[in-house]
């Protein structure tokens, strides 16, 4: 390793670990300067997390959030060139730190997914009329093999709380957080409508079908999996409504 590389490795280690002794050849004269860089590092990253996870901070309170952010910086120091990705993995950090309050990690995931979708590639969704035209000549085999392209930045996750109620209750200036456990887990889908990230809760069966189709499964394969989970009759009913909802909400970019 070159002298410069060694020096940079030492300085970086000193930023990441505030208890670390001063790097070689640096004396007391340098300590005050290094402390400013340490403070800049910590402040910039905590501020970035606060800006991305506003509602999570309101949910857990400023002091708890500050501790969680500091913990995240220690366990997951930033590696990307963009500060915007400093929150990568913060939902997992919240899951570790708030094991008995699962809504914290669920909300942190939601804010992170919306943060990413905000700057996802621009695209125009296929609407119902466009889709009808594209599939007008479809026979049964075509429907079976239908593969879709979804909105850039789309993400989804199983949740155990009503995130819509929680989200609204955490608007700035609102009162107490509305934490409502769900009777059965649901799937929350995040995507971007024009320039605005949005989300929607659907059944887990629909969420599983969407997840498999985002991963490249055909409509036929997704329906077969759904039939296994729900039974044939309910699956047929659900599959049609589900596809209509995805198109109506603007989740589908086009046919693959």
């Amino acid at each position: 390793m070159s002298t410069l590389a060694e020096r940079q490795a030492e300085i970086m280690a000193s930023l990441l670990d505030e208890d670390r002794p001063l790097p070689a050849n640096l004396g007391r004269r340098h300590e005050a300067g290094l402390q400013i860089y340490r403070n800049n590092y910590r402040t910039a990253l905590v501020e970035a997390l606060r800006s991305t996870f506003e509602r999570t901070e309101r949910l857990v309170g400023e002091a708890s959030f500050a501790r969680a952010a500091a913990h995240h910086l220690i366990t997951t120091p930033p590696s990307s060139w963009t500060l915007d990705l400093a929150g990568c993995g913060f939902a997992d950090t919240c899951a570790d730190l708030f094991p008995h309050d699962r809504e914290v990690a669920e909300l942190a995931w939601l804010e992170w997914a919306m943060h990413l979708s905000f700057v996802a590639r621009d695209s125009s969704p296929t609407n119902l009329a466009g889709f009808a035209q594209a599939t007008a000549e479809f026979g049964p085999a075509d429907w079976e093999g239908l593969v879709l392209r979804f909105a850039p930045g789309i993400d989804l996750r199983t949740v155990h709380h009503d995130l819509k109620a929680l989200w609204s209750s955490l608007n700035e200036g609102e009162g107490e957080a509305d934490i409502v456990p769900l009777d059965t887990p649901a799937t929350v889908i995040v995507w971007r409508e024009a320039e605005r990230p949005v989300f929607l809760a659907v059944t887990q069966a629909e969420g599983d079908a969407l997840a498999s189709m985002i991963a490249g499964a055909s409509y036929g394969q997704a329906c077969a999996a759904m039939a296994e989970a729900l039974g044939q009759e309910q699956a047929v009913e659900t599959a049609g409504a589900m596809l209509g909802r995805w198109l109506g909400e603007g989740l589908v970019e086009g046919l693959a």
Binding site: S2, R7, M12, V119, A120
Partner: protein
């Protein structure tokens, strides 16, 4: 390397709180500077805002994450995205800082100081060569504020910058506040700093505020969160007399005030520059 022609004008940094002002009113500036990394994204509102701003004003792309001093070289993904943004926006120029921000494993997201050694100079020049080659254009590099010097330093910062510009053909972005902050912190003369620079390579000047030293803290901190102080205005007067007309802007990064306050400061900069030019011409 390509030549960057002088651009004589006065501008402001585009910050989120002023988006509406810049998109819906006629802001009296000659250019707008944006933080490159905020727009090195796939799509969405930020890029739309930037493109609309570009339709109204010349734009400068000012980066904070190139890490031109990194011993491990530049991040090729970063360069790729910056080149794509430059192609999309067609900026007046692209700038970054003389500093390092990352190792191969981690990123500090702060402008960290370099040891001023021949080895570091070689690294910086090689990285600038790579960046300018990828972008297909010469860049500007800004003098940083610093709170730390190294026992292994072999030259002054102005000597480092001069040699860097000579070897790579890059240009300089002179942040007068940063010179003031570092001069206070390390005990050198700002006038000596200016005299040691190749001022014909300066294409842009930044003016900003800082947090003064206190009884408990001897170091001045470059916070860019307040108005330009009298000492920095004096230094700007001094350097404007030496450089002649150079693109000049007020840079506020935090505690962003209403746009009118920044335009008032910019007006003061304009007056000083005009007076300096009249004195030169006399």
């Amino acid at each position: 390397m390509s030549v960057i022609a002088p651009f004589h004008g006065f501008g402001l940094a585009l910050r989120r709180t002023h988006y509406t002002d810049f998109l819906e009113t006629q802001v009296p500036v000659d250019f707008v500077e944006v933080i490159s990394e905020n727009y090195m994204v796939e799509g969405g509102k930020p890029l739309r805002i930037l493109e609309e701003t570009r339709a109204r004003h010349p734009v400068i792309l000012h980066g904070v994450s190139m890490s031109v001093g990194s011993a491990q070289g530049l991040d090729e993904d970063y360069l790729e995205r910056l080149a794509a943004l430059a192609q999309r926006i067609d900026p007046l120029w692209v700038s970054d800082h003389l500093c390092w921000t990352r190792t191969s494993a981690h990123n500090s997201h702060d402008l960290l100081p370099l040891p001023l050694t021949a080895e570091a100079l070689d690294v910086v020049c090689a990285n600038i060569d790579r960046a300018q080659e990828k972008l297909g254009r010469a860049m500007l590099f800004e003098n940083p504020s610093s709170y730390l010097t190294f026992p292994e330093d072999e030259m002054s910062e102005w000597a480092f910058l001069s040699e860097m510009a000579r070897r790579t053909g890059c240009y300089l972005l002179l942040d007068v506040n940063n010179v003031y902050v570092s001069a206070q912190n390390h005990g050198f003369s700002a006038s000596e700093y200016f005299a040691g620079l190749p001022l014909d390579r300066v294409r842009q000047i930044h003016l900003a505020g800082h947090t003064p030293a206190t009884g408990e803290r001897s170091l001045v901190i470059d916070t860019h969160d307040r108005e330009v102080c009298d000492e920095v205005w004096d230094l700007f007067r001094e350097v404007a007399a030496l450089t002649g007309p150079v693109a000049t802007m007020i840079e506020r990064d935090d505690a962003i005030p209403p746009l009118s306050e920044l335009l008032d400061e910019l007006g003061r900069a304009r007056n000083i520059a005009v007076n300096a030019e009249q004195a030169r011409a006399a």
